[in-house]
């Protein structure tokens, strides 16, 4: 049984009570903005081409969106963490997704599937790299043989082309979770194939 700390109880009480809700929400927004600015600062290098004012707008939007999510999901807080830790994760997620998408704004997502042919035929005989080279070539040969077109494109984009999952989700009109499920299924299929070939321990 979880025991909700006094501090977390106070947040819940004040955010639910009409008499204190607005002040508590304002105070919480301040904390969420700090978290969002922290996240945006961590990722500032990917936004080198974006004006400083626009970058801070991203943090503000992230804090705004996080507050809306938190207030809508207040009853789902189960007290398994501090309330503030629970709240911060919404702000950090919102900020991270916004930064990833802003960094890729205007960039075409190109999925180069010829890479599998190159990897399948690349030099495997470089000293102690023989084993990893052989395994990599076997994976590259298994990809077109074992995976669906969608699995292959998602695997290529996320693991070889470095497309962030949130960006790919936006372009394909789907979700992070759905794309990761596709990636997970593709990995499982490849592992099974390599296992049958005796290449995985």
């Amino acid at each position: 049984m979880q025991v909700i700390t006094d501090e977390s109880q106070a947040w819940l009480r004040e955010l639910r009570d009409p008499a204190t809700r607005e002040a508590a929400a304002t105070r919480l927004h301040g904390l969420l903005l700090r978290a969002a600015r922290f996240e945006v600062a961590r990722r500032r290098r990917s936004l080198a081409h974006v004006p400083a004012g626009d970058v801070d707008d991203l943090a503000m939007q992230a804090a705004d969106d996080a507050l809306i999510s938190i207030l809508a999901k207040l009853d789902t807080f189960g007290g398994r963490s501090q309330f503030t830790t629970w709240a911060y994760k919404f702000a950090l997620l919102e900020a991270a997704v916004k930064v990833r998408r802003r960094a890729w704004q205007g960039h075409e997502v190109k999925i180069d599937e010829t890479v599998w042919t190159r990897l399948a035929t690349s030099d495997q005989s470089i000293g102690d790299e023989l084993e990893t080279g052989e395994l990599l070539a076997a994976i590259a040969q298994a990809v077109p043989r074992c995976l669906t077109d969608h699995q292959r494109r998602v695997l290529t984009a996320l693991t070889l082309d470095g497309v962030p999952v949130d960006v790919l989700a936006q372009r394909l009109d789907t979700t992070r979770g759905a794309l990761y499920k596709t990636l997970h299924d593709a990995r499982r299929r490849l592992r099974a194939e390599l296992g049958e070939m005796g290449l995985l321990g």
């Binding site: 978290a35 922290f38 996240e39 961590r42 398994r80 963490s81 501090q82 503030t84 830790t85 629970w86 911060y88 994760k89 950090l92 997620l93 991270a96 990833r100 990897l119 690349s122 470089i126 102690d128 790299e129 990893t132 080279g133 395994l135 990599l136 994976i139 695997l155 996320l158 693991t159 070889l160 962030p164 999952v165 949130d166 992070r176 979770g177 990761y180 499920k181 990636l183 997970h184 990995r187 490849l190 592992r191 390599l194």
Partner: protein
């Protein structure tokens, strides 16, 4: 790919963790608890199996985890 380490890292990304893992949605649900256990010196993997494997296999959730842990740790020191 020029070095053995590069190749191993690529193989790791292609094949993923290879053990049971939570989904991205479950990871988000559990992330605050996981981080508070970590920050408190407990063993989060004993309490929340499948999280470590997912954080290994999902770069976006891994980044979210690193950010939350760092931010919470920073706040607790100020």
């Amino acid at each position: 790919m020029t070095t053995s380490n590069d190749r191993r890292a690529l193989i790791d990304r292609l094949l993923g963790p290879g053990e049971p893992e939570v989904t991205c949605d479950e990871c988000f649900e559990l992330l605050d608890q996981y981080v508070d256990l970590e920050a408190g010196g407990d063993d989060p993997d004993a309490r929340l199996p499948g999280m470590r494997a997912h954080l290994h296999g999902c770069p976006a959730c891994r980044e979210d985890h690193e950010s939350l842990l760092e931010f919470v740790s920073l706040r607790s020191r100020t």
